[in-house]
Amino acid sequence: MELDTLYQEVILDHYKHPLNKGLSGTYDVQVHHINPSCGDEITLNLTVRESKIQSITWDGVGCSISQASVSIVSDLLLDKSLDEAGAITEQFIELMHSKGTKEGDPLVLEDAVAMAGVSKFPARIKCALLGWMAYRDAADRIKQSQDSVDERGGSQ
């Protein structure tokens, strides 16, 4: 049944038992993202220590795909450097836009390869991307604030 290519076991598992759900009390950056076509919303806290992702926590409402996707993000990117996490994010985005022609590298994407089937359901790609876009936004903000620290440092 084609539906099962969308709703892989792994996805339903993450949906039913989401990882890192519940916002941490402290964080470096907090972002709030929304999917305008359906109204799904998530808040995501990102904490980085020595250029490594120390914690991603989140809260929100949404469908199984979007919830599972944030859950996966919050686990997969842990302990990665911002650069590594950025590269993984780009791989995932590419997978989502592959219209079912790619499978994704399990060594890099781990649980997220279970999302490969989503790329065949164009209306759901945004759901699968919601958590990743929130992460990318949060990481960009951290990089910007670092850059401006660096610049200030450099100009002294």
């Binding site: 539906l3 709703y7 339903l12 076509s37 359906c38 109204g39 799904d40 409402v61 469908c63 795909i65």
Partner: protein
């Protein structure tokens, strides 16, 4: 009863196809857009094949035929609404129709009864589609006018107790939907129109979900403007209607060819309505298609369609409520209620439910249905909507119900 759904369905070629690997198409998304009967498709094609030319612009035979077809369509729309031809403007959609009114009001010279100032107020409701909300927010921000709204009660009805406070003396526009595309609620116009007119406000009626589904006579409604979209009324995409019996007082919106009286390099004056509102070569084939759509509906009879939908709605409401954890969002009684049926099912997210139903060939819509403030007010992230039309039948309800039950198992 003479209402023969099977015969009606045969007029709609899309029901010959299957979806998702051979499944019968159960189309419960007519609130978003309706399917098209062969006569409508042919009317548009036939215009292109035999009569295509720019209307109002040529002295040649094709131009005459195109003009006759286009103006004939205008007459059909007028007859369908109990209106006069010159009160009908063709737009591209209800969305454009509403924006037309709001922008034209901005174009009204100060002192005109349509010109709003910071002393004025625009009233909407919490159940408006974005198309009948944001254009008014924008008009308010352009003019400085204030925006107020009727609240929606938990039973899906407007809170009219406060009508005299909401429609205050400074109200200039009351923009309201005839039937909510989420709740199915049909709003009590009489009371609202009376109060609006008592304070000198005009009433703009969003009839997207009523004109296709019930007999409408604009004279009886008493509103000042009415809009609807062709594509929700078995008509083509790309055509909408604006009706008003006060077009003469309204300045134009889009500027260009065929809407002018005189033009110099520095200024221009305008043709009488409705031409004043139809700049450029119009959506001729789509207007003609809409004419054929209204003919199709009239032949079946709007009364018959309304009764068919009411009977179906009753059946759907009853059967759906047999599912534990399913909650109807909107009125449970059939009085003043149309066939848009929204609901939630326990913890299943509507997106997931919709996806599961799709795998069974059942097309519903999920999300906020372009009425996000309403969804928020209802305290749900989103809903699932089954919206019915003349070609739907009870058997489809049974399939929907078993689809939902199976979805519950799938996501359990």
């Amino acid at each position: 009863m003479s209402f023969d759904v099977a015969a009606i369905r045969r007029d709609f070629p899309i029901f010959e196809r299957t979806v998702r690997g051979g499944k019968k198409l159960i189309y419960l998304d007519s609130g978003a857009t309706s399917q098209k009967p062969e006569t409508v498709i042919e009317a548009e094609s036939n215009f292109y094949r035999s009569h295509n030319a720019a209307v109002h612009r040529g002295a040649h035979q094709l131009a005459e035929e195109a003009t006759d077809a286009y103006e004939g369509a205008r007459e059909k729309v007028a007859n369908f609404l109990g209106a006069k031809s010159e009160e009908i403007v063709f737009t591209k959609s209800a969305t454009e129709s509403i924006n037309l009114i709001a922008y034209s009001m901005s174009n009204a010279p100060s002192g005109s009864r349509f010109a709003l100032t910071s002393q004025d107020r625009i009233v909407v409701t919490e159940m408006e589609h974005h198309a009948n909300l944001i254009p008014w927010q924008q008009l308010a921000s352009r003019s400085g006018a204030k925006i107020s709204w009727f609240e929606v009660l938990p039973n899906g009805r407007l809170d009219l107790d406060s009508i005299n406070a909401v429609i205050s003396e400074d109200t200039k526009v009351v923009a309201i939907t005839h039937q909510s595309n989420v709740l199915g609620t049909i709003n009590p116009l009489e009371e609202i129109v009376a109060r609006a007119h008592a304070v000198g406000a005009v009433v703009v009626l969003d009839a997207c979900q009523s004109v296709p589904h019930m007999p409408i006579d604009v004279k009886k409604l008493g509103v000042d403007f009415l809009v609807f979209s062709g594509h929700k009324a078995v008509g083509p995409t790309g055509v909408g209607v604006l009706w008003s019996n006060q077009l003469e007082d309204l300045p134009p919106f889009l500027f260009g060819g065929s809407m002018i009286e005189n033009v110099t390099m520095e200024s221009a004056t305008w043709a009488p309505a409705p031409k004043r509102f139809e700049a450029g070569v119009p959506n001729m084939a789509q207007a003609v298609g809409l004419g054929a759509a209204l003919d199709f509906l009239s032949k079946i009879g709007m009364d018959n369609i309304f009764h068919h939908e009411m009977a179906l709605t009753k059946y759907f409401l009853e059967k759906l409520q047999e599912i534990p954890t399913l909650k109807i969002v909107g009125p449970l009684d059939l009085e003043n209620r149309g066939s848009c049926i929204s609901f939630t099912v326990g913890e299943i997210h509507p997106h997931d439910l919709g996806q599961y139903l799709d795998s069974q060939g059942i097309a519903v819509r999920t999300g906020h249905h372009c009425a996000w403030p309403l969804t928020r007010k209802l305290g749900v992230p989103a809903t699932t909507r089954a919206s019915l039309y003349l070609y739907n039948q009870e058997a489809e309800c049974d399939l929907l119900v078993s689809g939902i039950v199976n979805a519950q198992k799938y996501f359990a």
